[in-house]
């Protein structure tokens, strides 16, 4: 018996949308509009942005994920022309396992002498490129684009990767006039919905019935009595429920980047559907992730995580030799941490799964997963209480919801006997316990315990990074400054100095400092490789024209070239948090010898400026005695991240502090 099963996926017409947004129905009003009514600075706008993602059943492969896109874009001027070029990324795993795109329907509309002129996109103008092993790119640009054009395109993507629903992005660099999106999933799939951004769009939830219809065709050939053959058709139907979320919104503002935002995508309005479990008829539910507990458990159970953590044989001998005779846990920690840093180099790849720790150890190269899981395993082997910590790096955004995709990196956490905690990352040569590389300083990490339990740990450093600068100088009658400079840098300030200095050509490094107008001698850096000690940088220098000499008076600012001269915060207002990465204290102590024959006429008043809620402070003091002046300036930022509510205060704080540092010391002849 031959059975042909044909699938009918009955979709209840969802086209309740306004006529205006039907493909091709572009109006003269849309074409003649020359300024975006919701944002006059917009170069282009989405007049309509539609996405529908749903599941479709197919006999061979089961459920597939279908995404339909329809976008209509108005282009106001030449700066908006780049929105006439569209790029679509298609994922692929192997030859038969990849996303497919249907015919792209696209056209440009222009108004010419009160008539709508349509130019269709030719098939030959659509380019497909294999970007790399996992991505194909479809690119096209619309014909006949002029200021005022409206473009429109429509396509459908069929994906075999049913567990991976692309993020619904509701906010772009240009505004959206009308947004419609919907996500429809059969009851067999349960999703966790993660919403992000300052702008929330609440979906309307609907349920509908869906059917999978199996048509069984049985063909009976003639039985001898008659020559006719007959086909019997039997139909069986499976009914299921569909869960539909519909997002409808209007006039969504553009998202504009601001300086000192760690990642603008943290603030972009979007919705991410993450599969939490599947439950098919007649089978057991399979969970993916719903709570952090589940996420952690699934990660731990993955062979690339838990299994890799358990392997010890490949390093046993070396670690025994390294710490076999050591009993102090802190010493063991230090030895093993340095051992991993020196043995295995980071290949620049992120990720919390290990590709193969054994291979990484042998080849001396690995990803963050390889290196820090290996480190964790070694520390555990040596009897320390070590656990991996899942991290989302700064470029990856903040993990607000329990998802596996929320993290992209891993570090190690060791709990010592006195209950203190050391965070370690062996991918960065100049990192140290509790001094993680800058990329990992992003909110909180999640400790994955040996039993699969999890717990949050703050990644932002609590200890302040210091830069203590001492300068002893002599200023002469021409305003030339001569003296010595010494700076002691700790923690993150030391880390970034080491990263810059240690790999640089020393001459070039010096030249860079000298190009700020200094002439340097006796340049020296101590502890550049000894991470247990602060960096001590010192040199002697000469710098010309550091004072204004007017009449019989000399004027100069007490910190000379070390003063901060530019406010980093220039924008009038700000919406996103200000991320400094780590708390810091910068202190200056300057002792100035004034030229012979001059006396101090005026010194700036002492000052103390504070930020609200003890977020930071600035202290400034200048004291003169005979022919020496002593200057002490200390500024500190006490928190890694500051809410935009304090933006005004922060901007004003910097303004005042810059102004104060610019106040003049006045010397008079005679």
């Amino acid at each position: 018996m031959k059975i042909i099963t044909i699938l009918f996926c009955i979709l209840i017409s969802a086209n309740t949308f306004s006529q205006n947004y039907k493909f091709g129905k572009v109006s003269k009003e849309e074409l003649s509009e020359n300024v975006c009514p919701i944002d006059s600075s917009a170069n282009a706008v989405y007049l309509y942005k539609y996405r529908n993602t749903y599941y479709e059943y197919d006999k061979v492969n089961g459920f597939k994920l279908i995404t339909e896109i329809h976008e209509r874009v108005k282009i106001y001027n030449q700066e908006g022309f780049n929105h006439a070029t569209k790029q679509i990324r298609l994922y692929k795993m192997s030859a038969g396992n990849h996303e497919k795109i249907s015919t792209i329907k696209a056209q440009t509309y222009n108004l010419e002498e009160e008539k709508i002129v349509i130019d269709k996109l030719n098939k030959s103008s659509i380019f497909e490129t294999e970007a790399n092993k996992y991505n194909d790119k479809i690119k096209f640009t619309m014909p006949n684009i002029k200021p005022g054009s409206v473009i429109e395109y429509k396509y459908k993507i069929t994906s075999p990767f049913w567990s991976k629903v692309d993020e619904f992005v509701f906010q772009h660099s240009i505004p959206i006039k009308k947004l419609e999106a919907s996500f429809e999933a059969p009851e067999y799939y349960s999703f966790k919905v993660n919403t992000k951004g300052f702008l929330t769009i609440t979906p309307k939830i609907e349920y509908e019935r869906g059917f999978i219809t199996f048509i069984n065709k049985t063909r009976n050939t003639g039985n001898g009595r008659t020559s006719a053959s007959a086909t019997t058709i039997s139909k069986s139907e499976l009914e299921y429920s569909k869960h539909i979320s519909k997002y409808i919104s209007e006039n969504i503002p553009a998202l504009k980047d601001e300086p000192y935002v760690n990642n603008i995508n943290n603030y972009r309005a979007s919705v991410k559907y993450e599969l939490s479990y599947t439950k098919f008829p007649n089978s057991i539910a399979e969970t993916y992730s719903t709570t952090w507990g589940d996420v952690v458990e699934r990660i731990y159970e993955s062979p690339s995580f838990g299994e890799e953590l358990k392997k010890t044989s490949y390093f046993k001998k070396d670690i025994d030799a390294l710490v076999g005779s050591v009993s102090d846990p802190a010493t063991k920690l230090g030895l093993i941490y340095n051992f991993v840093k020196s043995q295995v180099k980071w290949n620049g790849y992120y990720g919390f799964y290990a590709d193969d720790v054994r291979e990484a150890y042998k080849e001396h190269v690995g990803s963050s997963g390889d290196i820090n899981l290996m480190l964790t395993a070694m520390l555990r082997y040596a009897g320390l209480n070590a656990n991996p910590v899942l991290v989302s790096t700064r470029t990856h955004g903040v993990p607000l919801f329990p998802t596996r995709e929320g993290y992209n990196y891993v570090v190690t956490c060791v709990k010592l006997q006195d209950d203190s905690v050391a965070l370690l990352d062996a991918t960065e040569q100049y990192a140290a316990p509790n001094i993680l590389p800058f990329r990992a300083l992003n909110w909180q990490g999640r400790i994955v315990a040996e039993n699969g339990g999890s717990q949050l740990v703050d990644l932002y450093p609590k200890t302040k990074s210091n830069n203590s600068i001492t300068m002893m100088v002599k200023i002469d009658k021409e305003g030339t400054l001569e003296g010595s400079y010494r700076s002691i840098k700790t923690n993150h300030i030391a880390l970034s100095f080491r990263a810059k200095y240690n790999d640089a050509d020393k001459d070039e490094f010096l030249e860079k400092i000298e190009n700020k107008g200094l002439e340097i001698s006796d340049y020296d850096v101590k502890n550049s490789e000894d991470l247990s000690k602060p960096i001590i940088e010192s040199y002697k220098f000469v710098k010309e024209s550091q004072a204004d000499i007017i009449g019989d008076k000399m004027y100069f600012s007490p910190l000379f070239h070390l003063k901060v001269s530019e406010n980093p915060f220039k924008l009038e207002k700000r919406e996103f948090p200000i991320d400094f990465g780590y708390p810091s204290v910068i202190s200056h102590r300057v002792i100035i010898n004034i030229p012979e024959g001059y006396k101090i006429e005026n010194l700036p008043e002492p000052a103390a400026i504070g930020l609200p809620d003890n977020l930071g402070s600035f202290k400034f003091k200048v004291v003169g005695c005979g022919n020496t002046i002593q200057v002490s300036v200390v500024s500190q930022i006490n928190q890694s991240i500051i809410s935009p509510l304090y933006y005004e205060a922060l901007k004003e704080y910097f303004n005042k502090f810059i102004q104060k540092e610019d106040e003049q010391i006045v010397l008079t002849k005679g």
Binding site: S41, N77, Q78, E130, K137, T141, K345
Partner: protein, 638 residues
């Protein structure tokens, strides 16, 4: 291939094999690097052997064998372990072997383990070019990579040059290049910049070989000639070649131009009749060719946009004109060709022109006819001069090419053949910025300022793009331009692009509290508010390259100043008048009354090339300007 050649080829291969066996042992360990090559080097090219075999007009084998020792992180790129390929270039062999400092092999990377990606950059819609590259994380420094790559190319129009030095901070122990070709083919060569390098040459019928040894790494310097102007190279071209299956013979620029015009350009001029009559109608009232051309340039700027698409014929044949007309976009070739066809339709003669685009004024090698250049512009010959049009810009005024293609030798292609011509140079006196402004200071040090800035020539080029910036971005721009003023608040920003006069006009008002420095009863006022030079050229302990100022400029400022009524002047800064070969700097304060002055400033920098000994003085000149631009008036309370 004749028997003679085959024999020679075999000999050569044999010879190479022998030398390579010898050299590898020598080159794989890092400690064998001669001391002088370590200096300033991030990497050392131990040996680089390029072996090209032109089997026929349409078959070129290229074998590269390179051993590079990388000394530190910044040297990783010097391995250059990548290869481009497309429909006409097939990769036959590709391999990299990594050795540690002692010369012991630690890793071998085979062809299939190279990363394979599309060579399309972000700005390109499509290109059929792809690249395979080596991704390797060093486990320690120094290390050595032996890279081997063999390709077959069906195009013989581009024969790679012998360029032993490719980048700064890389030294070369030994580099060789050899090319074999059939006796019936004629190859031309041109050597450049070998004055300071010892080039060893062997030339025979059907065989050239070049070799250099022991070249120290060089460091980049500011205000120096561009890298390509200083580096040694031997260019090679064949009189006959194949480009995308089309054979041709070219021995000079005239032939080259003829070939390009008749084989690549002419057949693309298929402007639809409708467009022809439309464009004729558009310019029917224009009095002369120039006015017609202006109108058409404007039409093109309004109609089309630049999109980079690189397909077929090595990216050398423009799209059909009808295609650009229909799509409304194209790359530089397509858009230039389109403009040319439109001009042609109204009887205005113009010529397709090949150029090296970029800030560094690279000229085509005038006495070496070969595939050169990376961009195309349009030339309109007039009775006494040439007009140059940049057809990829929708913003530039008619006849303005800016620093992208100014002042260099280009190839102008006419139906009668090609000829080398020189593009427009923007002289110092044409590149002006004129500031007329005024400002007042209140008794508590608040600055209120108003300024009009008019820019021309190259200074126009620096600013015209501001026309379409949003207010938010303009705010950012001006706060950055005047970043030496703390707490700047922009009150109004009006910019105007006068495309007829080719002038950019900015009308700005702003304020800043605490602009002056107050010390007791005194107030220090930095006179120059609008145009402080903060740039001082880098200092070099030991300058190696000549001083080159590519483009000059002239700034003229006149500013009215009002000081608060309850203050009087205690002292004025001195006036300046400096004149030297690098330019001049003049400032003057004219007193109107007790509280009103006029500040005049003129700063001019000449373009030109000067011996390296002059660099110090040039730097000192800029230092003085910087210092004097910070000069202050001391005010004291009445």
């Amino acid at each position: 291939m004749s028997r003679m050649n085959l024999k020679r080829l075999l000999n050569v291969i044999l010879l190479l094999t022998i030398t390579n066996v010898f050299s590898q042992e020598n080159f794989l360990a890092s400690f064998t690097i001669p001391a002088n090559l370590n200096e300033n080097a991030n990497a050392v090219v131990r040996s680089n052997d390029i072996n090209i075999s032109l089997e026929s007009l349409s078959e070129m084998y290229v074998t590269e064998k390179r051993i590079v020792t990388v000394l530190n992180k910044s040297g990783n790129d010097a391995v250059n372990a990548y290869v481009y390929y497309d429909n006409n270039v097939k990769i036959k062999e590709l391999e990299a072997v990594v050795y540690n400092a002692a010369g012991a092999q630690i890793k071998k990377i085979k062809k299939n383990d190279f990363k394979d990606v599309s060579a399309v950059d972000g700005g390109t819609l499509y290109s059929d070019s792809r690249v395979k590259y080596l991704e390797y994380t060093p486990v320690g420094y120094p290390y050595t990579i032996k890279f081997t790559c063999k390709t077959i190319n069906n195009n013989t129009a581009f024969i790679q040059s012998f360029r032993p030095l490719n980048s700064y901070f890389v030294s070369v122990e030994k580099s060789s290049y050899q090319i074999n070709f059939p006796m019936e083919m004629t190859l031309r060569t041109k050597e450049k910049n070998f004055e300071n390098f010892d080039l060893i040459k062997e030339e025979e019928d059907g065989f050239f070989k070049f070799k250099v040894e022991n070249i120290s790494a060089i460091k980049p310097e500011k205000y120096a000639p561009a890298f390509f102007e200083m580096m040694p190279k031997v260019m090679i071209a064949s009189n006959e070649f194949t480009l995308e299956g089309v054979k041709t013979k070219v021995t000079n620029w005239e032939d080259f131009g003829k070939w390009m015009y008749h084989d690549l350009i002419k057949s693309t001029h298929d402007l639809p009749a409708g467009t022809v009559s439309m464009i004729q109608d558009l310019v029917k009232n224009e009095p002369n060719d120039i006015e017609k051309a202006k109108k058409i340039y404007q039409y093109v700027q309004d109609k089309v946009r630049y999109i980079s698409v690189q397909v077929g014929i090595g990216g050398w044949k423009p799209f059909n004109v009808s295609e650009v007309d229909r799509l409304g976009y194209g790359d530089c070739k397509g858009l230039t060709n389109y403009t040319m066809a439109l001009l042609n339709a109204v009887g205005v003669k113009s010529n397709y022109t090949v150029v090296f685009a970029g800030k560094s004024k690279r000229s085509l090698e005038k006495d070496f006819a070969a595939m050169q250049g990376n961009h195309v512009i349009l030339n309109i010959p007039t009775e006494d001069d040439n007009i140059w049009l940049e057809c990829t810009s929708q913003k530039l005024p008619f006849g303005f090419i800016g620093d992208f293609t100014d002042d260099r030798d280009v190839l102008v292609i006419t139906p009668e053949g090609g000829k080398i011509q020189h593009t427009k140079k923007y002289s110092v006196d044409e590149s002006t910025q004129i500031i007329k402004g005024k400002y007042s200071i209140t008794s508590n040090g608040v600055l209120n300022a108003q300024v009009n800035v008019n820019s021309k020539g190259i200074q126009y080029d620096d600013k015209y793009w501001l026309e379409t910036e949003t207010q938010r971005d303009l705010d950012k721009h001006y706060k950055n331009r005047w970043r030496y003023i703390n707490g700047l608040i922009m009150n109004s920003m009006h910019v105007e692009n006068d495309k007829n006069k080719i002038e950019f006009i900015e009308d700005i008002t702003f304020e800043a509290s605490n602009y002056t420095k107050i010390a007791g009863d005194r107030m220090l006022l930095t006179v120059n508010t609008f145009n402080r030079n903060t740039h001082v050229p880098d200092r070099y302990r030991n300058r190696k390259w000549p001083l080159k100022v590519s483009r000059g400029f002239k700034d003229i400022d006149e500013v009215e100043i009002e000081i608060p009524a309850n203050y009087k002047v205690e002292s004025f800064p001195k006036n300046n008048s400096i004149e030297n070969k690098f330019g001049h700097y003049k400032t003057e304060i004219i007193v109107k009354d007790d509280n009103h002055f006029v500040y005049k400033r003129e700063f001019k920098v000449n373009d030109g090339e000067f011996p390296k000994e002059d660099y110090k003085d040039f730097r000192a000149f800029y230092k003085t300007v910087s210092r004097q631009d910070n000069a202050k008036i001391a005010l004291i309370k009445k």
